[in-house]
């Protein structure tokens, strides 16, 4: 097969890239010659992969993530690795060890996170598409803040093989692009079964977006317009939902009572999984070399103190705490029950409606440095985390502006109905075209 080389020299004034591939090669296929940026927690053979952490500085994976292998086989050119919150832990891309990414819509504001580099690279037109990952909103949040489209696929639909794990039971790789058609195209390449991921399902995605949503039942959970949601954002999103109604959809008010504790459950589960997953970073097998002359604990503590940033260390400790003797029942066990209640709430609603709609984020992109207190940053994730707890698909598409900044409409669907979520997004996108 013919191999082509292209020149990729973006003007990266937003610090979207941690590594640029100046002369990427590509072959033939559905993505022939399309430049795709890859988030830096997704393994790329021969290209440094750091998760935006000092503890993986210099790490060059000896293999490709399954999704990366698939886009290469489809002819895409891997344009580089994008900035992110360290190990995916954050909502602003400020937690990168290599400096924050700036929002192309307003460089005084964050691009959202944790896939902020991928979103900024697409929004600024540096690449056509990007791969992101979503553990608690990390594709949808930056898509909303930067004014692009981002899909968090159903859990199990895209292989996680080669995704450097942070919270396995919640996270997935997903597509980001400037429009629904491109997101759908990238999804068709990366979805499907992979025997190297034991949670992978045999559900390929071969779908052409359709704008016909006549008779579709759309649930509007009251909690998505409640406390903490900026009234101006709520107005813009309600107007977008009105547009869907004009297209023939039926609007059904509803409620997700488990939202009350979904965020707390999410943070207990993700930090618990992180405390276990990130135990492997000790400077022995990869990353900067550990001092082998020191004793075991002293060497690891020194390495992990220098190598991990404050948010990562905070989450590892929170997870260690939630799993520790005497607290497990109060936190981890309760969080698992809460997670099941969230799943049941969605299952009940999806027996009455086809999709759910609401804002992706409670506010527009905040200013750099605005949220210095960790808990206030966590609270920004309130509208995105329920989807990850339930494993269902959800998309964010631009639906208007507040203070000249983009607002995202979130559309959530039944498990393995990513196609329907795409169709509703496509219907809105076509109707909203000027």
């Amino acid at each position: 097969m013919a191999v082509h080389t292209i020149n990729f020299e973006p003007d990266d004034r937003y610090n979207a890239f941690l590594k640029v591939c100046a002369k990427p090669t590509h072959g033939e296929g559905n993505l022939a010659g399309i430049t795709i940026a890859v988030k830096d927690n997704i393994s790329t053979q021969g290209i440094e992969t750091t998760c935006a952490s000092k503890i993986l500085k210099g790490y060059v994976p000896p293999y490709d993530a399954h999704a990366v292998g698939l886009i290469k086989s489809a002819g895409a050119a891997v344009a580089g690795k994008t900035n992110m919150d360290e190990f995916g832990m954050g909502t602003s891309t400020e937690n990168s060890a290599f400096g924050p990414t700036l929002n192309p819509c307003d460089t005084g504001r964050v691009p959202g996170g944790s896939s902020g580099g991928s979103a900024a690279a697409v929004a600024a037109g540096m690449v056509c598409m990007a791969l992101g990952t979503d553990t608690g909103g990390s594709i949808r949040c930056p898509a909303a803040f930067c004014g692009i489209v981002g899909l968090k696929p159903t859990y199990g639909r895209v292989s996680r093989y080669g995704l450097i794990a942070y919270a396995n039971s919640l996270e997935t790789i997903g597509p980001m692009a400037n429009n629904v058609t491109d997101v759908s195209l990238l999804m068709s390449v990366i979805a499907g079964h992979d025997r190297k991921d034991t949670t992978s399902h045999d559900k390929p995605y071969n779908h052409i977006p359709s704008a016909d949503i006549k008779g579709l039942r759309i649930g509007i959970p009251g909690e998505y317009f409640g406390k903490g949601v900026d009234p101006e954002v709520a107005v813009v999103v309600r107007r977008a939902i009105g547009r869907l109604e004009e297209l023939g959809a039926v609007i059904v008010p509803c409620s997700i009572p488990s939202m009350e504790y979904a965020l707390a459950a999410y943070y207990v589960i993700c930090t618990s999984e992180a405390s276990s997953n990130l135990a492997r970073f000790d400077g022995v097998r990869y990353g900067p070399a550990v001092d082998t002359k020191k004793s075991w604990h002293a060497a690891y503590q020194d390495m992990r103190k220098q190598g991990f940033g404050p948010e990562v260390r905070r989450r590892i400790m929170l997870g260690t705490f939630a799993l520790s003797s005497g607290y497990y029942g109060k936190y981890y066990a309760k969080a698992q029950i809460a997670r099941e209640n969230v799943r049941k709430d969605f299952a009940r609603l999806f027996s009455e409606v086809d999709v759910l709609c609401g804002p992706t984020m409670p506010t527009i992109a905040f200013k750099l440095g605005e949220k210095s207190d960790p808990l206030s940053m966590y609270l920004s994730d309130i509208l995105t985390v329920p989807v990850n707890l339930a494993g269902i698909p959800a998309i964010s598409i631009p639906c208007g502006k507040v203070q000249e900044m983009p607002v995202g409409l979130q559309i959530m669907g039944r498990p393995f109905e990513d196609e329907r979520v795409i169709d509703v997004a496509y219907a809105y996108e076509q109707a909203a075209k000027p």
Partner: protein, 89 residues
Amino acid sequence: MVTEKDVEHIGELADIGIDNVELATFTGQFNAIVEYFDVLDRVQGEGAVTRDLYNVLREDVVEPSLSQDEALQNAGAQEDGFIKAPRVM
């Protein structure tokens, strides 16, 4: 209430390495976050979660994998084709 002593203990368990300045900051943040987690006390429901999903296991057959060179390429310290770790004793 999480004390500095608790956080110090957790730091030891996680091999995270904390100095005294950080200890006060982390303890303050921990208390705010853990207080928020207390909403979980109100959760009602079943403890056991069952699904129609099963472990996917295969026979333990040797298949092509990374070569020794590839497996070692990222290790900071090596000796005689092995990865070198800090001493345990």
